[in-house]
Symmetry: C2
Subunit: 436 residues, 2 copies
């Protein structure tokens, strides 16, 4: 038998391997993507995904609305549209944002293909390779992926139960300035944070804005969950008190449905013009059909009532989640979110959520390891559990299974002194869209 | 009275002017955008836009199909989907591409938000600032915009009535190699070229592929119009004979409708993986609702019959266009396209299509100046006229008006020796999505 030298990974089958842009090398397929494919099997309880629960939507009504839109306005709905988005929808978006105290003009709004595209466009117009983006520790995995793809340097700032810590932000920005680093923006999720589940307190909001303003740093306020609070009315958005210093990102994905891919960004005039040009370059224009479907839904349905029923649904699931954690994983600790989709769980000492994941999937339960939410690969002592999609019963079953996995893992750690890390789990940077 | 120094343009109102990325400075709003806003007024005959004519679509049937999709599969249609796109649609896309001799696997296809997004993703994964992209002279304005936004250096290669000239490509690639320039890909529109209206001959296709292969240059085959030929069956795509060397871009925007924003790219395995990662970063996933609408249309309607009727419709309009040009502008010359949406008109000597545009709009007719289709600002002696959207009667009226504008312009040139260029028309680089 001849001994074969294995080819360098990625070169053998790819004649264009040497032709990629620098940024493409920052786009890596995660080795746990294969695991996430398994996660969607019915026998696995997935506490990994960020998918909203859509059974509660009035599908028949939405279907009839869509029928009417195409039958009566089809030549508009099926045609190219404006790069900025339809004016009627932009006006309705103002109604949505008014619930959080935002006073804006339709011209300030740019409609995007989900708020993920807004993240992409904002990063595209502001970030040169090596520029610094400041983000919470932890932060949204999909944002970190965008930032990395534009070769940004991500610097984390710690949070606590009241969200981003102003003193830590001040210290970080001062240190970066002393180092001569160029900080382009602060990326923050003030409400029902993904993954941490915490909310920036009312008291801290003006302090964060003041610090950012003093350091000349733009604030990106990403707010997909703000209307999904469990116990009180929405807090005023940071954008509601700062028009020039804040870019606000909104989305219909969590308050209505993600399948139309409609989000938006509100930006100061000149920035908004750049965003429109960038969006035209990226996709020409957002889908008229999608925008008109959302617009018709907003004008003909009780969308506020629907959000209220989502809040009740998700609160019940949050209760199921934290109740099951208290019962089955008393040695762990977790945030108790007052809205949104996620709780952030700290594992008992010595456990590693990333290396444990394959064994969890074997145990028919899935989560997202904490490492996905840090640019520097830390966070293995945490995991994100989502309670948005599974029923309360499935949530309890999932936590039960997770506890069994954790307990078995703990025995391994006691025997071996460390949590064994299989070779094939080396990178959770991009677990794929299902996990977001 | 105090004399005021006007502020530097763009700085006074934009507190973030100093924070933009390098690439954002390549995204410029065209001063003729204001003109294009006027173009959509009913009194103006627009021969500028690339909008398909949708009146012929069975809107009632499409509306009912969409109703059924949401009523029966709503929790999928309204949910997040896969970054690569729905498998069922990718299989149907294979049926579409088989009409051009392409034999591919569903795994090879990535669904995008219009083929514009495919252009963006391909450029994103391959282009570092300063890399060379070779493109036809002229080339699609929307592609040039994407290439510029990634700071590519665009090098044009001349075309003639049979499309890209192989000898000119060979000469260009050899020269660039001698200069040590890194050519990342050739961007070409082989069928019913936008804006030139010409088609790459059957005889030249293998020669172009051979030259590109020999120089190690990837070929981007952009083919939105290939099925819209007037006199013969579609020519075999370049991708049909070269799986590894060609990335193929397709779209439903011209053969069905652009309003769902569904296009696709076919790529070799490893490149396709990068494209999926890049797309997930840009938008998470394409719209399930849009994809399922297209999929249901393809499986329940006579889509080939619809394309046939589009071909007849556009041929009649092409005939109206070239007939009117022969009657009213005998001193100009133009291509006679055998499919697609556009003819490329060379103006009588001494006329400048860019400086003439404001006077044309005053004369209630619009076109896209040739300068939009060149990276170096040349092309002012040409204009693109599209015949896709206006009725034959409106096309004839538009050309009549254009002839009056041209004749008046010619008098100006005879008197002043040159075509006067108003100060406010300095940049047609990005005329906005309506003109594409």
């Amino acid at each position: 038998m001849t001994s074969l030298t294995p080819p360098t990974p990625g070169t053998r089958l790819d004649p264009w391997f040497g032709a990629y842009a620098q940024r493409a090398h920052n786009m890596r397929a995660s080795e746990v993507r294969a695991l996430f494919a398994v996660v969607n099997r019915p026998e696995v309880v997935s506490l990994a995904g960020g998918m909203p629960y859509l059974e509660g939507l009035p599908l028949g009504v939405i279907a009839d609305t869509m029928q009417r839109v195409i039958a009566t306005q089809g030549t508009t709905a099926l045609q190219y549209g404006s790069g900025q988005g339809l004016e009627e929808l932009r006006e309705q978006i103002l109604d949505v944002m008014r619930l959080e105290g935002i006073d804006a003009h339709p011209d300030d709004v740019v409609v995007t293909t989900g708020s993920q595209q807004a993240l992409d466009l904002v990063t595209r117009i502001f970030i040169d390779p090596g520029d610094v983006i400041v983000a919470e520790a932890p932060s949204y995995v999909g944002a970190l992926g965008v930032f990395r793809s534009y070769q940004a340097d991500i610097v984390h700032v710690p949070i606590d139960g009241d969200g981003l810590i102003p003193e830590a932000l001040e210290e970080t920005l001062t240190r970066l300035a002393a180092q001569g680093r160029r900080v382009k923006f602060l990326y923050t999720i003030p409400n029902f944070h993904n993954p941490a589940g915490v909310t920036l307190s009312l008291e801290r909001r003006p302090r964060i804005l003041e610090i950012a303003r003093r350091h000349g740093v733009l604030v990106i306020e990403d707010n997909p969950y703000g209307l999904l609070g469990f116990s009180h009315d929405p807090l005023p958005a940071m954008r509601s008190t700062d028009e020039e210093g804040v870019l606000y990102l909104g989305s219909f994905s969590k308050t209505f449905a993600p399948g139309f891919r409609v989000g938006w960004v509100v930006a100061p005039h000149a920035v908004r013009e750049k965003l429109v040009l960038a969006s035209e370059s990226a996709i020409l224009c957002p889908s008229n059909a999608s925008q008109m479907a959302i617009s018709a839904y907003l004008s003909t349905s009780d969308w506020k009532g629907q959000i209220k029923s989502f809040r009740e649904l998700y609160r019940e699931r949050r209760d199921a989640m934290v109740g099951a954690l208290a019962e089955h994983l008393p040695d762990a600790s977790w945030t108790v979110p007052d809205g949104g989709f996620y709780t952030w769980v700290k594992l008992p000492d010595g456990l590693d959520s990333k290396s444990m994941l394959p064994r969890a999937v074997t145990g028919r339960v899935a989560y997202v390891p904490g490492t996905a939410f840090f640019a520097d690969g830390s966070g293995a002592d945490h995991m994100r559990l989502s309670y948005c999609f599974p029923t309360p019963e499935r949530i309890r079953e999932g936590v039960r299974r997770l506890a069994a996995v954790v307990n078995a893992e703990r025995e391994l750690v006691e025997i071996f002194g460390t949590s064994p890390s299989p070779d094939d789990v080396t990178d959770i940077d991009n677990p794929g869209p299902d996990s977001l």
